[in-house]
């Protein structure tokens, strides 16, 4: 990295950060609009709890809202100067997330992938639905939840995907069709909505690390809303063909936003062509 820095500004990393901060904040006064923009961006902080959560007519917690995957309740990606605590969904020092324990064959399969092959496997690169549980684990965009006593609709910005979860206690069928979001049954555990799902399309990945799954995968989602502004989602993946033991995520925070929800149809994807050329070049080099 240092090779690209102008010789006159070769200071240590910490000093460079300080220098650059000063430049970004004080060097961009190209007009009132620019100054206003900076002021707004630097005001992004962790959102307060916001009081008790709303309730459905049946007394259960209402999970409805426009949820953003950070602790700020607004867009933070692509912005400078955001409070680091406002960016994240969990504090890895306070609640570290365990690493998945793979079956040896699965671990070997993942490790054998080249970086380009790994990239080409990703749902995002292929404009494929993230599916469950990835939609809650690798989704940088917002999700709108519409919750009634008998149904929870999840409207995902990414790829304009959506999912309906029936909360009327209906069981899953014996042999469900393979769906990207599986087939679910739910129950309440106090103020926690527990969603158990089976029957997944095998083209999805749990994480964009090559973590694939089998047809035996079972997913448990635990939804809580401890206060008005926060949705907590915790995922457990039980996949005995691929994992040596079930894996449980950290409790990930989503915050209530009031901004716009944007359209996202994946219609101009150059990734497959560009990465495909790179893979060809890798093959020639072997």
């Amino acid at each position: 990295m240092s090779a690209r820095i102008h010789p006159g500004v070769l200071c240590g990393a910490a000093v460079a950060l300080l220098c650059a901060y000063v430049v970004v904040v004080h060097g961009q006064r190209g007009g009132a609009a620019a100054a206003q923009n900076r002021t707004t961006e630097y005001a992004i902080k962790v959102m307060p709890p916001g009081g008790p959560p709303p309730r459905l007519p049946d007394g259960h917690v209402d999970l409805s809202g426009h949820w953003l995957p950070n602790s700020a309740g607004q867009g933070v990606s692509g912005r400078d100067g955001v409070d680091p605590a406002a960016r994240r969904q969990f504090d890895p020092r306070a609640t570290p997330e365990e690493k998945p324990a793979f079956q040896p064959w699965a671990e070997a399969k993942i490790k054998a992938m080249t970086p380009v092959e790994l990239e080409l496997s990703k749902s995002s690169v292929n404009c494929m639905p993230r599916g469950l549980p990835a939609i809650w684990l690798q989704n940088p965009y917002s999700t709108v939840i519409v919750h009634t006593p008998t149904m929870m609709a999840q409207l995902y910005e990414v790829l304009n995907n959506w999912r309906l979860v029936y909360t009327d206690g209906r069981p899953v069928p014996k042999d469900p069709e393979p769906w990207f979001h599986g087939t679910s049954t739910t129950h309440w555990d106090g103020d926690t909505l527990v969603v158990n799902s089976v029957g997944f399309d095998e083209r999805t990945y749990v994480m964009p690390t090559g973590w694939f799954h089998s047809d035996a995968m079972k997913v448990t989602e635990r939804y809580t809303r401890p206060s008005k502004n926060y949705l907590i989602v915790q995922i457990t993946v039980d996949d005995p063909k691929v994992l040596a033991k079930p894996w449980t995520s950290a409790s990930r925070r989503w915050t209530l936003g009031n901004g716009e929800v944007y359209e996202f149809y994946c219609t101009n994807n150059h990734e497959l062509d560009e990465l495909g050329k790179l893979k060809e070049q890798e093959s020639y080099g072997k």
Binding site: V76, G78, D80, P115, V116, K122, C127, Y141, P208, N268
Partner: protein, 135 residues
């Protein structure tokens, strides 16, 4: 030179910030673009493609030999640009005007194609993050 130095510092900090925070991008920058081939570009904005999963903008850049080439720069997904305050209207207002870009070239050798890390329209001078800058 003074201005370039400021731009360089700002670009470096954008990269440091981007690399120190969780990736919110559509995919991994490092797989497709070469972090050892990042540099500054100055030129005239000619076109914008407001599309997903990435936007693209095109800039006429005069190279050292005097030839002008039309570079294509990839951006974040539009949702990320919009939430960070960068709109299609802003790009349209700057067509035909000067811009500065910090970008990294494609690993597969495609000519005049790069990922944009940050962008400045000369019209307002605001440093706008366009993608993962990892130099």
């Amino acid at each position: 030179m003074k201005i370039l130095s400021r731009f360089t510092i700002a670009a470096v900090v954008a990269g440091v910030i981007a690399s120190a925070t969780p990736s919110f991008a559509h995919h991994s920058f490092a797989a497709e673009f070469d972090a050892s081939k990042c540099r500054d570009f100055s030129g005239t904005l000619t076109k914008v493609e407001w599309t997903n999963p990435h936007g693209f903008f095109h800039v006429d850049v005069k190279d050292q030999d005097g030839a002008v080439h039309n570079w294509s720069f990839q951006t974040y997904a539009l949702i990320t640009l919009r939430r960070a305050g960068t709109s299609l209207e802003l790009f349209k207002q700057n067509i035909g005007k000067e811009v500065w870009v910090r970008g990294c070239e494609a690993k597969n050798g495609r000519a005049f194609y790069a990922a944009a890390g940050s962008l400045k329209f000369a019209s307002d001078g605001v440093l706008r993050q366009m993608g993962q800058l990892q130099d």
